[in-house]
């Protein structure tokens, strides 16, 4: 089975543009109920991701007011070089990679690093079990 058979496609997971502030990025995550948001430039190239865990670690580390945190650019809090996978990758290989790195979500990109989907572990397993 390939990644493309189980991945979430555009409009099924949170994506924001690079000028988005953190508050809006978090709202986008909340809208989809997923613990990740992908940040892309105007050409849909993946620039970074933010996960629930990143935010949790920030909250534990920094003491600045929430209002200041919210208005920061999301990109200033993102992981710039996240793990990625390709739509033609074998699902088994990618799930192994996710397990090894303890991540639940993996952006799917094309060869130019354009974002085309998201592999969400729960979704993937559900499809396999069916």
């Amino acid at each position: 089975m390939k990644v493309k058979q189980v991945m979430l496609s555009q409009n099924q997971f949170p994506v924001v543009l690079e000028k988005t502030i953190l508050k809006e990025a978090l709202e986008e995550m909340d809208k989809y109920g997923l613990g990740i948001v992908c940040i892309v430039n105007d050409n849909n190239k993946l620039i970074g991701i933010i996960t629930d865990g990143d935010i949790r670690r920030k909250l534990l580390k920094f003491q600045k007011p929430f209002s200041a945190f919210y208005i920061d650019n999301a990109i200033d809090h993102c992981i710039n070089d996240p793990l990625i996978c390709y739509s033609n990758d074998s699902l088994k290989k990618v799930i192994d990679l996710m397990g090894k790195n303890e991540v639940w979500d993996l952006p799917v990109v094309d060869k130019n690093k354009n974002l085309i989907g998201l592999l969400h572990l729960h979704q993937a397993i559900s499809k396999i079990l069916i």
Binding site: I21, K58, K61, F62, P65, S67, A68, I71, D72, D76, H77
Partner: protein, 295 residues
């Protein structure tokens, strides 16, 4: 953090220069209100000579309509038409860029046609109609931080201005309310506002204001202006704003806070030295890096 934005000041025949980044400090000054033509020209001449002597680029600041006065009896200004005529004469006579604020969206277009920089008053710094009108002039915008605003929330006002197609913004600190009739100066606001990438200005004379502390007018503690200027410049401002008058006790607006022109040269010289030293220190020892968000 965004890359430092450099903003070009001046159009037409005035002296043009850039502000932002590591460029030299720029002075913004003049009487709070335009009192009359002769006084405006007299002050422009005096300040021009001082700025020329100390070698600092400057912008003449004076307002034609003081809409935020505490008392209905206070001097309100010479009005839009007369005021802009005087500012135009200052521009043409001294070749200096001018800035004035506006308190009604309908005044913006005319103000932008004469002024090199258009100022948004602190009390109106988040009003969408004002920000839109300022943006549409296509002039650089001196955006005062409201006394009630956190420095980080000024980004919302910047985003509004950007959404109307203007990204020539200068963010100005002018004190923050602490309780009633009292302002404090938070030096962390400079690096916070500078993190937007826009140049940052310190309005030293309004920052020492004690708003409406005299019942129907504002008081102030101008004795602290030099101290606060030194602190602000050391914290990375790009422009220094000080309302200046030849006879503060007789000034028609903000008489308790305007700087007596006899102190201007001394303060500007110190400010320039600190500005230059700060740049040299950062070049030698590197940017502050003790608490990066991305650690």
């Amino acid at each position: 953090m965004k890359k430092n934005k450099i903003i070009e000041i001046g159009y037409g025949e005035v002296k043009k220069f850039s502000v932002g980044g590591d460029l030299p400090l720029v002075f913004v000054g003049g009487p709070c209100a335009i009192e009359n033509r002769d006084h405006a020209l007299y002050m422009a001449d005096k300040i021009s000579k001082i700025c020329s002597k100390v070698g600092i680029n400057w912008i003449y600041k004076s307002c034609y309509d003081k809409d935020c006065r505490s008392s209905p009896k206070s001097f309100h200004g010479v009005g839009l038409i007369e005021g802009l005529k005087i500012l135009d004469e200052v521009r043409n006579s001294f070749g200096v860029p001018v800035v004035s604020d506006f308190s009604d969206p309908s005044w913006a277009k005319a103000t932008g046609e004469i002024c090199d920089v258009i100022q948004v008053p602190a009390y109106l710094c988040r009003q969408t109609s004002i920000l839109k009108a300022a943006a549409k002039t296509n002039r650089p915008i001196l955006l005062k931080k409201g006394q009630f605003m956190s420095p980080w929330n000024m980004k919302n006002s910047c985003r509004k201005i950007e959404s109307f197609g203007n990204d020539k913004i200068i963010l100005a600190e002018r004190g923050t309310f602490m309780g009633y009739n009292m302002l404090v100066n938070d030096m962390t606001s400079f690096p916070i506002m500078a993190s937007t990438g826009y140049p940052v200005c310190y309005d030293a004379t309004h920052s020492v204001q004690l708003p409406t502390s005299m019942g129907n007018i504002s008081g102030g503690q101008r004795e602290f202006i030099p101290n606060l200027v030194r602190s602000a410049v050391a914290n990375g401002i790009n422009l220094l704003f000080m309302e200046t008058h030849d006879n503060p006790s007789k000034a028609l607006s903000d008489s308790n806070t305007v700087l007596d022109i006899k102190y201007l040269e001394n303060i500007l010289v110190q400010a320039q030295m600190i500005h230059q030293t700060r740049i040299e220190i950062l070049n030698k020892y590197g940017e502050d890096n003790i608490h990066k968000e991305k650690e």
